[in-house]
């Protein structure tokens, strides 16, 4: 055969063939490209967490190039004049250098911090979505457990990172952490001195936290996230019920190209928003806090938001100490309950929830269709109860700031938190339960009688009635349309959901096409005679 010249157009096909000859990837790749994903805005919440994590890895690697994780004492001599000449740890000095003497270091630091806050927030919101829609049910209990663990590992990542700059705030946080460890019965002082390498603060904790923060914890996060995503992939995503959707199919878009493009675009948007936040909104201005000194603290010393619920529980706990009169006497400090026992209970309850619910309902079937919160009032109400509990704790974590800004007595805030923690969750349960039932009831009414049209009709005997537009044109047994079945999916409740409004006029500043005749509410709508939907809103024009 004659040797041809290099043909650039044939190159992709040729190299694809070469790859497939060696690795036989064509069929698996087709399966991947074709995989169908259901779509709904609420499925994107977990993605925000994933994308923030990627931003965390990128900015975090940058920060490690400049951060010096040691507690060696140095005299600061950088650009930030107010702190020049101050003795401080090398960790704090290098954090200041990242902020002031590394070009673009401050935005990296701030993006890292914002991404961390967003990561935790997205995890929490995603978890709420999964909980309230019942997405955790069989076969997805494992992924629910991994998700809950991700929250706590993320918490650990956040705390270790927060401690690294060794500024006034982070040192205070570490002090409290050491006190929490000390409060563990029997082994507390041993664990604390082993972690801190002696008495608090010692000289090694920053180095240890550094390796935990940049290697151990992120490694664990990467592993858990991989398994989490792998399981979503293997078990296929849940979907909302709807036309054509069953428990044994997935209705949506193939992964490529549309779904993947949307994901890629969304990642860029999340990245962009983090960049805007990192540039525009100051966060953790460590140069204002000064180096950590055990005798300095200021009011409104708050941790990052995801730690605040533990801070709140600590503040609300009354000073109840348990004294054990054996030998010299032993104590279980009050700090132990809100900071060690409470998180333990929360981990246990949240991870076990899928099994508890399945056991209570004796429901061991596979569920791939989501439930609307209103259709499972008990679960939704339990979730609202947990949320109320969490919100009271989180607000109590800032109760001194609230007391200060709103001129409320601090002690009153603490008591409000203590009482609120006990009575608000049951109230939230009851109210949510009733709201769920009410929403269900309304759906059923619309299914039975139709949508309220807002059109009032006077009957020959003088009564006024509102005209309802039935959702079906089928004839029932007594002349009325038959009631539709309740299927746990959205019921249209407004006439424009039925297409009763004229089409929207397109264009941003000015109409880009000739506007359709705007429908006007007619005086005598022929609703009863002609129940076809397009006749409803658009009678004769007055024009």
């Amino acid at each position: 055969m004659k040797r041809r010249k290099f043909d650039a157009a044939a190159l992709p096909a040729k190299s694809a063939r070469a790859v497939d000859d060696r690795f036989q990837v064509a069929t698996p790749l087709r399966k991947l490209l074709n995989k169908v994903f259901p779509d709904h805005w609420s499925f994107l919440l977990g993605e925000i967490a994933l994308f923030s994590f990627i931003v965390l890895l990128l900015t975090g690697v940058f920060l490690t190039f400049f951060f010096e994780p040691t507690m060696t004492e140095v005299i600061y001599n950088g650009s930030y004049a107010p702190l020049r000449g101050t003795p401080m740890s090398a960790a704090y000095a290098s954090s200041l250098d990242i902020s002031f003497d590394v070009r673009g270091g401050l935005i990296m630091r701030q993006m890292h911090h914002w991404a961390a806050l967003l990561f935790m927030a997205a995890i929490v919101v995603h978890m709420l979505r999964v909980f309230f829609t019942g997405a955790f049910r069989k076969p997805r209990e494992t992924n629910w457990i991994i998700g809950s663990l991700l929250f706590w590992v993320g918490f650990l990542a956040g705390f270790t990172g927060y401690s690294l700059p060794d500024d006034g705030l982070s040192g205070t946080g570490l002090r409290i952490a050491s006190a929490i460890i000390l409060s563990i019965p029997v082994i507390g002082s041993w664990v604390s001195s082993s972690i801190f390498g002696g008495e608090f603060p010692g000289t090694i904790i920053i180095s240890r936290f550094f390796i935990a923060h940049v290697l151990l914890v992120p490694g664990l996060l990467v592993a858990l996230i991989s398994v989490h995503l792998g399981l979503v992939f293997k078990q296929k995503h849940t979907q909302w019920p709807g036309p054509g959707r069953t428990n044994s199919n997935v209705v949506g878009e193939r992964m490529f190209p549309r779904y993947a493009l949307k994901q890629g675009g969304f990642f860029m948007v999340v990245f962009g928003v983090i960049a805007l936040m990192g540039g525009l909104f100051q966060i953790n201005p460590i140069w204002l806090f000064g180096p950590y000194e055990a005798w300095v603290v200021s009011a409104a010393s708050q941790p990052d938001w995801y730690v605040m619920f533990l801070d709140g529980s600590t503040r609300l706990m009354p000073g109840w100490e348990i004294h054990i009169p054996i030998g010299n006497g032993y104590v279980i400090p009050p700090l132990f309950w809100p900071t060690v026992v409470l998180p333990g209970i929360l981990v246990g309850l949240s991870t076990m929830y899928p099994f508890l619910e399945a056991r209570r309902l004796k429901d061991y079937k596979h569920h791939n269709l989501l439930q609307r919160p209103r259709d499972v009032p008990a679960r939704t109400a339990v979730g609202a109860m947990a949320l109320a509990f969490y919100i009271v704790l989180t607000l109590s974590g800032a109760n001194d700031v609230i007391a200060d800004k709103f001129h409320i007595s601090l002690n009153a805030m603490t008591w409000a938190g203590r009482i609120g923690l006990l009575i608000l969750p049951p109230i939230a349960y009851y109210i949510t339960y009733r709201i769920c039932l009410g929403l269900q009831q309304h759906d059923r009414e619309v299914l039975a009688h139709g949508v309220e049209t807002g059109i009032i009709k006077r009957l020959p005997d003088g009564r006024f009635v509102e005209v309802h537009q039935p959702l079906t044109s089928a004839e029932g047994h007594d002349g009325h349309p038959p009631a539709l079945d309740y299927v746990g999916w959205v019921v249209p409740k407004k006439m424009n959901r039925l297409g009763a409004l004229g089409p929207a006029i397109r264009g941003f500043f000015y109409p880009i096409e000739k506007p359709a005749e705007a429908p006007v509410s007619p005086g005598h709508p022929p609703v009863e005679d002609r129940p076809e939907r397009e006749e409803i809103g658009s009678g004769e024009s007055r024009r």
């Binding site: 004049a81 929490i180 563990i184 008495e199 948007v269 990245f271 960049a275 055990a294 005798w295 200021s298």
Partner: protein
């Protein structure tokens, strides 16, 4: 519904010959999807090729990508030429980070929304249905795998030769411990070395030398240095006394008013701490007995000391007893006096344990 769907309905279930040259590319794609149990039931272009709408959307997407280029370039310009080093005052350097954020953020948002518009508006809308296959569809396969594993166990013969299993376990257990030993052994620290949890920097030095109270700058303190109603954070006058090496030593020296001092003295006496005050001066540990934060907000009028971390409140005139919040133990009191040179010294170390509680605190 698109026309493609109708084609498919006529086609029937037998697999297509994908090498048939009459097939369109989409039909091959559809056949591939079918082999993955996917039915593309709805495939509808959102814009007509060549239409005005298509050209407009294309322009919009292109504009977003170009804006990305503009902002990315702006980022580089700012990054290189904007004054970035910190200066006192409100100079242009304060805008460096915000400008980087705005340019980078808008550049990324440009790509993001460009891609999103492309994907959402220009690509055809589709509805595909894929089978889940999440039920056990091959009970036989399950049976075979189960039997294979059991056969494996049979072959190993652990049940017939129990010694193997027992000896293996007995041998492996210490190996597991070997993995843990260096970690635990290396990290573990005796918490009560030098009695460190019960002593502070105020412990008298060699020969019972009493430790002076000093300020943050290292100067010793005379009674006249603290005015009535005033307070001062003091430290042990030893090497490293004013540092985190002695994180449990910071102490609050308070000059009480006369009537408060009387109350305080009476309370001291009730507790058997009759000689802890010197004149109208008291000294209490600044380290909160709750979680170890410095309890540093002193309210002069009520003589309460508030810890800003968790709002424990201590009444100074009553042995610093906790009167509100999560703390359960009074702040320890430092017995003080004035030495022959007229400076404050600690008579002895604290007689109670400093800082947060722990299990073996007596």
């Amino acid at each position: 519904m698109s026309t493609h769907t109708e084609h498919q309905a006529q086609r029937g279930p037998e697999p297509l010959d994908v090498n048939d040259p009459r097939l369109s590319r989409f039909e091959v794609v559809q056949e591939g999807a079918r082999r993955d149990d996917i039915e593309i039931v709805h495939y509808e272009p959102q814009v007509v090729p060549g239409s005005k709408a298509e050209r407009r959307l294309t322009r919009t997407v292109a504009l977003m990508f170009l804006l990305t280029g503009v902002f990315a370039t702006a980022f580089l310009v700012v990054y290189i030429w904007w004054p970035w080093q910190w200066e006192p005052g409100r100079g242009g350097d304060k805008l460096y980070t915000p400008l980087l954020g705005v340019t980078l953020g808008l550049a990324l948002l440009g790509i993001g929304f460009g891609i999103l518009t492309w994907g959402k508006k220009l690509l055809p809308k589709e509805v595909s249905i894929q089978d889940r296959h999440d039920q056990v569809d091959d009970p036989e396969g399950r049976k075979i795998t189960g039997e294979t594993m059991l056969y494996l166990a049979d072959e190993m013969g652990v049940r017939r030769r129990p010694l193997l299993g027992i000896s293996l376990l007995a041998g492996l257990a210490p190996v597991g411990a070997v993995a843990a030993a260096p970690l635990i052994g290396g990290l573990i620290e005796q918490p009560h070395k030098n009695n460190q949890m019960f002593t502070t920097g105020f412990q008298p030095g060699e020969g019972g030398k009493k430790i002076r109270l000093i300020r943050e700058d290292g100067r010793p303190i005379r009674p006249a240095d603290v005015s009535v109603g005033g307070q001062l954070t003091v430290f042990p006058g030893i090497d490293g006394g004013v540092s985190n090496k002695h994180a449990d030593s910071p102490t609050l020296l308070i000059h009480l008013r006369e009537d408060d001092a009387q109350k305080s003295r009476a309370a001291n006496e009730r507790k058997g701490h009759g000689d802890y005050m010197w004149g109208n001066y008291v000294a209490y540990s600044k380290i909160c007995t709750h979680a170890g934060c410095p309890a540093s907000l002193y309210e002069q009028q009520t003589n309460r000391l508030l810890c800003p971390c968790h709002q424990s409140q201590f009444l100074i005139t009553d042995n610093a007893k906790p009167i509100f919040g999560p703390a359960n133990r009074p702040l320890p009191q430092l017995p003080i006096e004035v030495d022959e040179e007229g400076f404050f010294v600690a008579k002895s170390d604290y007689t109670e344990t400093i800082g947060p509680d722990f299990w073996e605190r007596p």
